[in-house]
């Protein structure tokens, strides 16, 4: 099994390292042909306006959206969450538009408001997860098919819709592999149901 990591810009290395810890082979996705033969795709954190523009310029936006609609499991962190969502408040920036979610960018404020905190995420087990939020977005509201895995003060910070997984925080900046393992289980389920 091979998991693609969108490698146009951002925290690519950290996702690669965590997946290697889990014994998973990864491939950097820079062009549409890199999508062949992958079992899942990670959209890492970065600058969403930059990544969105590069996705369009290199003809990746439509092939990834198409693969997502056909059931390819996709996991987005921060910028990845923004790209996955159908609606971005106040912005016409390019997106995959796969997840039925309204997202607010830089929702907590500028860098000074970036924070880390231990949060309980029952789907990942009893121990709290150490979450790191960097100029993070959140999901303001989501459709009925979206399962909330973590929310704080009515803001959705971690969510799943079928084979799509989106986190406003950065599990790749910690050494806790539970979110990535959760994504691997989504992939395993997707493969057995095919």
């Amino acid at each position: 099994m091979k998991i693609g990591i969108l490698a146009l810009q951002g925290a690519v290395r950290e996702h690669r390292n965590l997946l290697r810890c889990l014994g998973v082979e990864t491939v950097d996705v820079l062009n549409p042909h890199d999508l062949h033969g992958i079992s899942g795709l990670i959209l890492p954190g970065g600058e969403s306006t930059t990544v969105g523009k590069l996705l369009v310029r290199y003809g990746l936006l439509e092939p990834i959206a198409e693969a997502g609609r056909a059931g390819l499991p996709i996991f987005g962190t921060c910028t990845g969450l923004i790209l996955l969502s159908k609606y971005i408040n106040g912005s016409a920036q390019p997106r995959l538009g796969l997840m039925d979610a309204h997202v607010e960018r830089n929702a907590f404020g500028r860098q000074l408001a970036s924070f880390e905190a231990d949060m309980p995420i029952p789907a990942l087990g009893d121990a709290p997860f150490h979450t790191v939020f960097i100029r993070a977005p959140y999901i303001e509201k989501a459709g009925g098919d979206v399962t909330t895995l973590l929310s704080l003060e009515d803001k959705i910070l971690f969510a799943q819709q079928g084979n799509l997984l989106a986190a406003a925080f950065h599990p790749e900046l910690t050494s806790d592999t539970r979110v990535h393992e959760y994504f691997l289980r989504i992939i395993a389920t997707a493969q057995t149901s095919q």
Partner: protein, 298 residues
């Protein structure tokens, strides 16, 4: 849900923002209009300053932190992170930038140093800092003071990439030396480099700098930018290179693409076509030592 304790301004969130900028281009801008052009071209952040380095060079005088009004104008114009420069050692310029909620402060040798002995103790701030370095010892001294990101200094405002290359090659060579040293040799090497021992130990364990390292100083073309990536930098700062060229919007976009696809030389060739004239620049080899900016800071 039990009460969640949010911690802000930690080293992890400072360093985290730098991690998110990797593989990107940070562009010097002096007006909100330029900031918009940079954002539209795909910059991951902009550096707000009063004069680009080549103008500072040409006009001389004391170079200081920018007018807060201009910084606020730029913050309102774009949604990407906004950085700004403070003079080396100027604690209050840095506090003013923090009060403006700037996303990153560059304690920069491009401005005229305010303190000729001490750099700012950056760990006391909630806002992250980036600092220049010419070698591993200098980089680790800045990290020791709390910098969350390093950029090799290069020679700002020249359009000559030779110093940026020299500095990243030196950092890489120093890292190799630390990595291949035996545990017994490490303290002596740290002493020779003037590097905090604990951080040298971290470099040895990681095989790289403990923070993100961008290139800066003299990058003028898409090929220059891709070169710095090939040499192992995590991203690039482009100062005078964009807005002192014939066609800033097109060149900015080309540099962004060359950095994202730095190993795809056909693509670098493609985006380098028809950009018009690059900044004219000046050769560092023909400059006098007193005109070199990189020697500021220690």
């Amino acid at each position: 849900m039990p009460e969640v304790k949010k911690e802000t301004g930690t080293f992890a969130v400072k360093k985290g923002l730098a991690e998110m900028l990797k593989g990107g281009v940070i562009m010097d801008v002096v007006t909100p209009e330029q900031a918009k052009i940079a954002e539209d071209a795909g910059a991951v952040a902009v550096m707000a300053l009063e004069r680009v380095p080549s103008d500072i060079r040409a006009q001389g005088g004391v170079a200081r932190m920018s007018d807060p009004e201009m910084i606020i104008g730029i913050q309102q114009a774009v949604s990407i992170p906004v950085m700004a420069k403070a003079r080396i050692g100027h604690i209050v310029e840095a506090r003013v930038l923090e009060a403006l909620e700037i996303d990153f402060i560059d304690e920069s040798e491009v401005l005229t140093p305010a303190d000729d002995v001490y750099h700012i103790l950056k760990s006391e701030f909630k806002v992250p800092f980036v600092c220049g370095a010419r070698n591993l010892g200098e980089a680790l001294r800045r990290v020791g003071e709390g910098a969350a990101m390093i950029r090799t200094k290069g020679e700002a405002g020249t359009g000559d990439v030779v110093e940026a290359v020299r500095h990243i090659r030196q950092v890489s060579k120093d890292i190799q030396r630390v990595v291949s040293a035996s545990p017994m040799e490490l303290m002596t090497i740290a002493k020779e480099m003037g590097a905090p021992y604990e951080l040298a130990l971290q470099v040895k364990e990681l095989g790289r700098l403990p923070v993100v390292n961008f290139a800066a100083g003299g990058i003028a073309t898409p090929a220059d930018a891709a070169l710095m990536m090939v040499l192992g930098c995590d991203g690039v700062f482009v100062g005078s290179g964009i807005f002192k060229s014939d066609n800033p919007a097109k060149r900015a976009k080309a540099i962004v693409e060359a950095v994202a696809h730095y190993q795809d030389f056909k693509l670098v060739a493609e985006v380098s076509k028809g950009l018009g004239e690059a900044m004219r620049g000046q050769s560092v080899a023909q400059m006098e030592d007193k005109d070199k900016i990189a020697d500021r800071g220690w």
